[in-house]
């Protein structure tokens, strides 16, 4: 098993696409900080726009977005670095690039049938899935660590300062977000193992990350009328991608625990399901 993990890590490191996807995600983080700095200047010079932002600022955005601003940042005080990082991780930009990476990494192996060369080296084909989960985990950690670095650089470049505060809570937030990202990456890997199509996997992965499953809310509410009584009901509350957008630095510990349970549960479930599929399926 260790050898298979080493092999996948070698491929990950040697592959230009890995670094291109990583670089692109960092550039997007950088661009997001730039847009935030532009928006801050805009809100500071437009009190009406700021009032609108304050009125709608608490709404959860389930989609993928760039350059977010929180109303409390427009009071003239310095924006805390960890809040800036948190907003950009919540925006699901990194999740989108993770979808691209997982689809590419699993898809390139699926397309050329490389597993045929090494199928005899393992006693259970589920090892190939576990190995991918290690690669996904490492890439997720790399992306989130890189995002912190890119945000620091962006903060210096576009805001002119780094306001380091709330590090402890920030670290907890990042750890839970890493778990959620890994879980979503495993879900994308599961999608690929089911569909065996890179295009279908990437499309579904990005659409689900962008909150397409909100459509299920409307269906569920129309079928089960009792759900109307729950004001904040959304299926997104129970999905890994939903929790990426939901979790904030100031979320309750209950929300952190729920998000962690969902993430770990999804990792285990997706790993198991993918392993079962790949073990049963003949190699093409």
């Amino acid at each position: 098993m260790i050898n298979v993990i080493k092999m996948d890590l070698y491929r990950m490191v040697k592959n230009k696409a890995t670094w291109l996807i990583f670089l692109a995600s960092m550039l997007m983080m950088f661009a997001s900080i730039f847009m935030t700095s532009q928006d801050l200047a805009y809100y500071n010079s437009n009190p009406t726009a700021l009032q609108d932002l304050q009125a709608n600022g608490d709404e959860v955005n389930w989609g993928i977005y760039i350059g977010s601003v929180k109303p409390e940042w427009c009071t003239g005080t310095e924006v805390p670095l960890m809040e800036l990082v948190a907003v950009n991780v919540k925006s699901k930009l990194l999740l989108m690039f993770l979808v691209v990476f997982v689809t590419y990494f699993a898809g390139s192996e699926g397309r050329n049938g490389f597993l045929k060369n090494i199928a005899g080296q393992v006693t259970h084909k589920g090892i190939f899935v576990f190995s991918k989960s290690v690669v996904i985990s490492i890439f997720a950690v790399m992306m989130i660590a890189g995002a912190v670095l890119a945000t620091m650089l962006g903060s210096v470049a576009f805001l002119g300062y780094i306001n380091i505060a709330n590090i402890g809570q920030g670290c907890v937030f990042l750890i839970v977000q890493i778990l959620l990202h890994i879980a979503y990456g495993m879900f994308v890997l599961f999608l690929f193992n089911v569909t065996e199509s890179s295009v279908a996997t990437m499309l579904a992965g990005i659409l689900i990350a962008a909150g397409i499953l909100q459509i299920v809310d409307a269906i569920l509410v129309s079928v089960f009328s009792k759900l109307q009584a729950i004001s904040d009901f959304s299926i997104m509350n129970y999905l890994t991608s939903g929790n990426v957008g939901l979790l904030s630095l100031d979320s309750t510990s209950g929300l952190y625990i729920r998000a962690s349970i969902i993430a770990v549960g999804a990792i285990v479930l997706m790993n198991t399901l993918s392993s079962v599929i790949i073990q049963r399926r003949d190699l093409k």
């Binding site: 092999m7 050329n112 049938g113 597993l115 060369n117 199928a119 005899g120």
Partner: protein, 305 residues
């Protein structure tokens, strides 16, 4: 006496409504080059995939190096395979592709990859991306991938498909070298029969998923060599006559035919002697068969090259 390396027992593979391989039992000994002959879609690839552990048989079992059933999974690493097209990362170099398999196999011997590249004649192109390789080079790299880990058995599915004559010769020489110098047993499938006959020591003929005949190279040579074909209602009556005339190298092929493999110029004499003994004959002629004709006759259909 050669050691038996692999045997399949009533191996069958069904896909929903189609039977790809039906009840195939073959035996392959250590050091043999076993040629699987069959038309496209005859079931050669499916048979190789089952032997290589890429797909599960619907019924029947495989014994490899004495292991069968689930125990066989433990030694599947002793099989190197090239099934259908070479499975390579085209964006990576030949070296990196081999490195991936070496890491997976746990090999980190210095110079090992270079040694394998040398074996297949790709040492100079080691740092070239596979996407820049010709078809023949990709096939050779595919064989190199199969050779990592010094396998006891090499499964090669149509390795000369689409190659130019020079490429075919190179692959042939590589395989013969591997067999002779490293004593690697090879099962090779192809529908280019003449080429297969140049490397194989034993042949298995497959048609519609069934093994229709197994022959050694000598037996095939005899079956295809120039001979006197004697057709008659009762061949057993002719045998004492042939013995009396001093013929020793002949074979009763079926209930109406005898093949005589010596003194081809004596066909007239044979006819006269049989006539003297009042043994009726239907025809007598000198005939020979190409490997392809022999196969065609056997399957009774159109050969799909």
């Amino acid at each position: 006496m050669m050691n038996e390396l692999l045997s399949t027992n009533s191996l069958t593979k069904k896909y929903k409504h189609q039977t790809a391989v039906s009840d195939i039992s073959i035996n392959v000994c250590q050091g043999e080059i076993y040629g699987l002959v069959g038309k496209n879609g005859a079931g050669k690839t499916t048979l190789l995939k089952m032997i290589g552990g890429l797909c599960k048989p619907t019924s029947g079992d495989i014994t490899f190096m004495g292991y069968s059933g689930k125990e066989r999974r433990k030694i599947l690493s002793r099989i190197g395979l090239l099934i259908e097209a070479p499975s390579l990362y085209t964006g990576m170099t030949a070296y990196d592709n081999l490195k991936l398999k070496c890491i997976c196999t746990g090999i980190n011997k210095k110079g090992y990859i270079e040694e394998i590249l040398e074996t297949v004649g790709l040492c100079e192109a080691r740092n070239k991306k596979v996407s820049q390789y010709s078809l023949g080079m990709k096939q050779r790299l595919g064989i190199a991938m199969a050779l990592v880990g010094e396998p006891d058995l090499l499964l090669l599915d149509e390795p000369i498909n689409g190659l130019d004559p020079q490429g075919i010769v190179e692959i042939r020489n590589t395989l013969l070298d591997l067999n002779k110098k490293k004593n690697i047993t090879i099962i090779i499938s192809s529908h280019i029969l003449e080429e297969l006959s140049k490397v194989s020591t034993k042949f298995g003929f497959i048609n519609n998923g069934e093994l229709i005949k197994e022959l050694s190279h000598t037996e095939l040579d005899i079956a295809c060599s120039e001979h006197i074909e004697l057709e008659m209602p009762d061949p057993t009556r002719a045998l004492p006559v042939l013995d009396r005339l001093g013929f020793t190298h002949y074979q009763v092929v079926d209930s109406h035919t005898i093949h005589i493999f010596e003194r081809l110029e004596d066909s007239g004499h044979i006819a006269m002697e049989l006539s003297k003994c009042e043994i009726p004959i239907t025809s007598i002629s000198v005939a020979s068969k190409t490997f392809e004709n022999y196969f065609l006759e056997m399957i009774g259909g159109v050969y799909n090259d």
